[in-house]
């Protein structure tokens, strides 16, 4: 967990602005940017694999069986690229 924030004194901040926890942006949730929300209609999903690589925010988890799961709303910014890409109407924007 990143301990640095806007109240951290200079002595406790990393030197030169380096970050030693690669990938820690996951702690920064972008879901509140969303104005429309994708809804996953699992019954319509054929697991074709078109939706998850197009997500700019990596908000469509894929499990080890190569199947997509429900949206990760912590990060989804609601762009709708996935819904427009889905050929089966399995994603609805609300």
């Amino acid at each position: 967990m990143t301990t640095i924030n806007a109240n951290t004194p200079m002595e406790k901040m990393t030197s030169g602005g380096d970050i030693y926890e690669a990938g820690n942006a996951r702690e920064f949730k972008t879901g509140d940017w969303r104005s429309v929300k994708p809804i996953f209609l699992s019954e319509k999903c054929k697991q074709c694999g078109l939706c998850f690589p197009v997500c700019p925010d990596d908000a469509i988890p894929v499990n080890k069986d190569c199947k997509r799961e429900d949206f990760n709303y912590d990060y989804c910014k609601g762009c709708g690229v996935c819904a427009k890409t889905c050929p089966f109407g399995a994603i609805e924007m609300k």
């Binding site: 004194p9 200079m10 030197s15």
Partner: protein, 396 residues
């Protein structure tokens, strides 16, 4: 045992680099520092160093590549002059803000324009607030010695700042003088290994370097740099002491030449100090109590020490080999006088801008400055503190 040699200032810098054996050198040729990468690439071509030489397409890329290399975990070095440093300017700030102890050999030359290839200090003065440690060298020996000490200072954990070693273009870079070199093994041991705590090539701990650093953070990061610069003063003295033990050659923050009992003195940097020493000796023979303070460490600026060292004088002249074009005086003049003001040490002070674009600095010119100082010492008054010498003007 030291080895006696005869070398030019550029050769001295290149040989120091060879003995340091950095992991990466990225450089672009520019007069008068060109010989440094030339000599160095010969060492690379002949396998005398382990260095990867990156023959970049510009000085901007030279500093960028040094930053990439140093952040990756390597020791990176470069050399440049004048417009080369100007082109690097953006990256000079980035190198220090990323806290990368890159070492640069700056062979001082006038910054354009108009174009001129000869010596003055306008290049160095343009980066004086960039967060680099700046060491000035009177001659080839000092250029060599400062280079050997550079990494120990820059890489110290309380410092971690880049460092540049300045010497005067052509005047020292191209003149061959006697020099004492240290043995390779002794240098290797003295310089030691670079072991950064965090670096890009550490696959066990991938790191990110060079963020977008917004309002909540940049101020603190800048203040960290300022702290490091303050720490550098102590580290420079420690390293210089250790260097003296090895070589017998003593270095401080500045050199005081017959300053103790002096009544009038000149403050200057680099090769002009040699000419000034000659004049001081001559004046002393005439019973004039002249002295010299030669600044070695320009950044961090030794404010307290310089103010103390000059406090007993009746008059002081500060020589700037670069004009600040501010209608007030040169940078060294401002630094020295503000140091004295803050320490409440009043000595009548006068500034001379001189030697611009390689204008020869003669013993007579320096003697003229001491004559002026003698006059000022009598009255205690300075009519016009912002002056020139060596400049042609219509007689009034």
């Amino acid at each position: 045992m030291s080895i006696r040699e005869r070398l030019s200032g550029n050769e001295a810098a290149a040989i120091a680099m060879k003995q340091i054996n950095p992991d990466v050198v990225a450089a672009f040729p520019i007069t008068p520092s060109t010989e440094i990468p030339q000599y160095f690439s010969t060492f690379v071509a002949n396998g005398t160093v382990d260095t990867e030489f990156v023959a970049v397409e510009s000085e901007h890329s030279a500093m960028s590549a040094c930053i990439g290399a140093q952040a990756a975990g390597a020791r990176a070095m470069t050399a440049t002059s004048a417009n080369g440093l100007s082109l690097m300017w953006e990256m000079i700030y980035i190198a220090s803000s990323l806290r990368l102890p890159i070492v640069l050999s700056l062979v001082n030359r006038a910054v354009s324009g108009p174009l001129n290839i000869h010596n003055d200090h306008s290049d160095a003065m343009g980066v004086r607030d960039a967060g680099w440690i700046m060491l000035f060298s009177e001659n080839n020996q000092e250029a060599y010695d400062n280079t050997l000490m550079a990494h120990r200072i820059a890489e110290h954990k309380d410092v971690m700042l880049p460092l540049m070693i300045c010497q005067d273009g052509f005047i020292t870079s191209h003149s061959i003088e006697n020099i004492e070199l240290e043995e390779d093994e002794k240098v290797k041991e003295f310089v030691g290994k670079y072991q950064p705590e965090h670096y890009l090539l550490n696959r066990e701990e991938p790191i990110a370097v060079g963020p977008l650093d917004l309002q909540a953070y940049l101020f603190e990061h800048k203040a960290q740099q300022a702290e490091a610069m303050k720490n550098a003063k102590k580290v420079i003295l420690e390293v210089s002491e250790e260097f003296e033990k090895m070589t017998g050659r003593k270095y401080g923050l500045f050199e005081e030449y017959k300053l103790d009992d002096a009544e009038i003195a000149i403050v200057c940097m680099n090769s002009t100090a040699g000419t000034t020493k000659y004049v001081v000796d001559k004046l002393r023979e005439q019973g004039i109590k002249a002295g010299l303070l030669k600044v070695r460490v320009y950044r961090p600026f030794p404010v307290d020490e310089i103010a103390d060292a000059l406090s007993h004088l009746k008059a002081v002249a500060i020589l700037d080999k670069a004009d600040s074009l501010n209608a007030a005086g040169g940078a060294l003049f401002e630094d020295v006088t503000s140091a004295m003001y803050v320490k409440e040490k009043y000595v009548p002070a006068v500034n001379y801008v001189y030697g611009i674009g390689g204008r020869d600095t003669k013993a007579d010119d320096i003697e003229g400055v001491y004559n002026d100082l003698s006059e000022i010492a009598k009255t205690g008054k300075v009519e016009n503190p912002y002056r020139y010498f060596g400049l042609r003007k219509e007689a009034k």
